[in-house]
Amino acid sequence: MIPVLRADLSIVAYGDRTALRDIRLEISPGEIVGITGPVGAGKTTLALACAGLLGHAIPARIEGKIQHASLAPPLAGYVFDDPLAQFTGLGGTVEEEVAVGPENLAVPREAIRARVDRALAAADATHLAARPPDELSGGERQRVALACALALEAPLLVLDEPTAQLDPDATQRFGERLRVLAEHGTGVVLVSQDLDLLRALATRVLVLADGTARVSGHPAAVLEASEHADAVTTDTARSTPLFEARQLVAAYADRVVLDSLTLDVADGSAMAILGENGAGKTTLARVIMGLVPVREGSIIVGGRPLDGLPVHRRARHVGLVFQDPARQLFARTVLEEVAFGSRVLGAPARQAYDKAREALEAVDLTELEGVNPGDLAPQTQRLVAIAAAMASEPPVLILDEPTAGQDDEGKRRIAAAIVRQRKRGCAMVITHDLPFARRVCDHAVLLSNGRAASRVIRSAGHS
């Protein structure tokens, strides 16, 4: 059987920095090869190399050979770890965006339509076809990103953290559909930190560390038994509600996103906000911060209503870490970045830097305080953003998908940050990562159709 990919890479380097060394990889049709490893191990570089994207849009020095079964485009369908990166801007609607690949391949119009429909169905995104890509939630974007890659109908599919922002049901459906694709002969490279996903899907797993292949083989042999980390418990939870949302109604134009949502979070506790993609989780965070106007209802922190307060004044009461931290990083050093919030809120320089150092210590980033945040990996940038939010010491801290793409070490650092926050107030964690939610949160709400549909209370460590 002719392999869909044969890679023999001695060195892949960005300038003077070697990203990969001595990697050999062969993928047969129908095979799903999982790639995992810590942040900075070279997973994305290997994925880009497999898809034939290194050396074109991304300048890199490649010593070695990469051979694809296909000699002409498309060599591979590629799903980026950041779903926004998938969008070319050439589609005004989701279906137009998905059509860009087949259009580039000069596929006749009727055949494009068929491909787009198939890809959207396979990515569980048919219902999004007429929506503008800019207005999708993170998880919806991820589904569309997958559809964009599938529409190329390439013999090789390279997926970089394709489920990081998908809800558990969507992840399961994604797995089922990936298996079907493989059964039809598509070779798949699946980069993921989700070891359960790799165990369930991969026929072979390659574990990278420091740019080299450390272990390779059957998932059962290569991946250690699933780590069920102990719950990070604290005795901080008190019965007094610190955060209260009362009958919140919010909408984007005519689309009601939050519908009479009522929610409270006790002082000293952490609450997981769960829900399907597009359920309104991120909108809730934006409403709390005042970025999306409230049509009805009230938000109260520490007994004080925030209604009418401008966004920058709410920052004293609520800290929000966005899904994409790159929107906020600007300072020359990590320390300055983390101290920025306290400084604009009026803390004297020395006090602001002391708080910043404390926050950096909480996420184990002290050694990076002199580094330019722009030079860090996105996962580390997110840790910097978390430290920056904590340094202002808001009583309520909201983290939006903090564990997306994080390795175990990153998740441990975020868990430590949440423990610290619970000692000072409360935390709300918007996530699809249920094991992480179980580990760090003592309450969870499930958003559905803009309402808190159910509330789960767990005893320490067990849902």
Binding site: N104, A106, A315, F322
Partner: protein
């Protein structure tokens, strides 16, 4: 008619803009720019963007007129002057400044109308249907999308920094202080976006050979093709006439 103008083929809108700008700069003021401005505002009104077009045209033209008047009538007055409280003012500078501003305002109004009403995505598909090379399709679409994209990014950066406590209003010092936290991430985001787009295109077979096809059929009726040919012909004639003059 209004409905038709809203569904106009993007290539026709482009031809109209080229003609209006040519008219503005080739036919002497005030008639050339006045006609162009009137047509641009009429088209903007019929497509529901008149207010925004007037605002951006005025935002460029009025300060330009003011600057030119200050420079040519007050700072370095030339020709006949009148004395106003001991300050010599060159009265002859007012009208030329008005014509230059009018030209600029008319050109901005025409461009503003096309940017606000033409979907870059429709333009790409219209170009693909006419067999233009892929790079030219993307170049034009990216140019049209640049302003709205930058605005969207700026909004995101602004939101992120306000959530950290940054107040963006207030006096000049406060505004100056807010510049770096806003401009820094915005610049980085825009550069990153451009790189990301290039990579996204690469990942979507943009380098494939052969003419691109299109999922959507952008209507291009015969009368519009004829109108376009007339407008291109008129633009070229005006340009040649301008050069000869």
């Amino acid at each position: 008619m209004i409905d038709r103008l809203r569904r106009i083929n993007p290539l026709t809108a482009l031809a109209a803009v080229v003609l209006l700008i040519t008219l503005t700069y080739v036919v002497p003021a005030p008639w050339g720019p006045l006609v162009a401005l009137t047509v641009a505002l009429l088209a903007a009104a019929m497509t529901g963007v008149a207010r925004r077009v007037v605002i951006i045209a005025a935002a460029v033209a009025v300060p330009t007129w003011f600057f030119l008047v200050v420079m040519n009538a007050l700072v370095a007055p030339q020709g006949a002057t009148v004395n106003a409280g001991g300050i010599p003012i060159a009265t002859g500078a007012f009208l030329p400044a008005a014509w230059i501003s009018l030209r600029l305002g008319a050109a901005i109004a025409a461009l503003g109308w096309v940017v606000m009403t033409t979907s870059p995505q429709r333009l790409v598909r219209a170009l693909a249907q006419r067999g233009f090379p892929a790079w030219s399709q993307y170049l034009l679409a990216a140019s049209l999308a640049a302003v709205p994209e930058a605005r969207r990014r700026a909004r995101e950066v602004l939101d992120a920094q306000r959530c950290r406590g940054l107040a963006v209003g207030g006096g000049p010092v406060a505004r100056l202080r807010a510049t770096l936290p806003l401009a820094g991430p915005l610049m980085v985001s825009l550069v990153a976006d451009a790189e990301r787009r290039a990579l996204a295109l690469d990942a979507r077979a943009f380098d494939a050979r052969g003419a691109r096809t299109s999922l959507i059929d952008v209507a291009d009726p015969n009368e519009e093709r004829l109108l376009r040919a007339l407008m291109w012909g008129l633009s070229i004639t005006l340009l040649v006439w301008g050069l000869v003059q």
